[in-house]
Symmetry: C2
Subunit: 198 residues, 2 copies
Amino acid sequence: MPNPIELAPWRSPLSRALHRNRSQMHCRFFQLATVTPEGLPTNRTVVFRGFVEQTNYLKIITDRRSQKIEHLASHNQAEIAWYFTKTREQFRLAGTIEMVNADDLESDFFQERQQTWETISDSARSQFAWPSPTAQRNINSDDFNVETSSSKSPLDSFVLLIFQPHTVDHLELRGNPQNRFIYKLSSSQEWKNTEVNP
Amino acid sequence: MPNPIELAPWRSPLSRALHRNRSQMHCRFFQLATVTPEGLPTNRTVVFRGFVEQTNYLKIITDRRSQKIEHLASHNQAEIAWYFTKTREQFRLAGTIEMVNADDLESDFFQERQQTWETISDSARSQFAWPSPTAQRNINSDDFNVETSSSKSPLDSFVLLIFQPHTVDHLELRGNPQNRFIYKLSSSQEWKNTEVNP
């Protein structure tokens, strides 16, 4: 595991946003932009699976057969746009993504992959045994009726993504004028905060 | 103006989603991914300003001083991720963006820019007279108290973006299993629809 570090200064406003919007399940959904091997932008909604303890790294899970895996293999940079509908504020997080697969035994996050598998719901787990995403639709609905156990090793298709932010842009639309703060991780791994025009 | 065309087949499920989610103001917000000149993904929440009449083109407005203008000048490709929280469905729209500026007198969409300026709220218009976005915060709050008129020409900082989709990926999370449809615009400008695995 990486050394324990101090919580970044953007963790406090982000925790506050998660708390204030907690009545809305979708407050844990955000949009993840990546780039294809050809350099084209792509974007999709994913679920926030919490932070890796003692770090500022966000966890996301995905299917090894999904297109974003191919994108991340060629460009490991990504940007999250996370809009909180109740409090009307946005966090944009730019950073790099480390993929943790079944055969990444040497990864700092190999245990984290196992633990994350155990915490997700039965229905979330079963999706990793579904037929290939974006392939022509399987007609037999039994193909989607599969059970997977939390106590076993995660399926090979289960990939843990570790998002490691280097820039966070926090915009509060409710202020008049609006408030905007940019946090940047310096080369000495310190977070610097600037207040900017919205 | 381009020739009037038939509504694309994804317009009907999108209209239905907008209708069913209309009680939530944020149903008109989506996330727009672009690529920086250096090839890095970027992502932010923007507001859907309707379709250009008689076309399948979506309207977005932005400030000429915003970073996405620089991104789009180098790569005009973008992808929208549009998640509807009430009906739990996502539309991903990939396409190209045409920018319409104050000096684009020859643009097919020059009048559309004027008309869109007239339809937005006073507070939305005034933001185009605010100090430069992402510059160090202006201390004088009077700098943000500006009035702009709908009857005058749009401010030079006002840019209309015309998003022209070529691929639409519609995912309905509520099905069991989920439903997913991919629409692609062929080289003969026809939309083809395929049902795929979620």
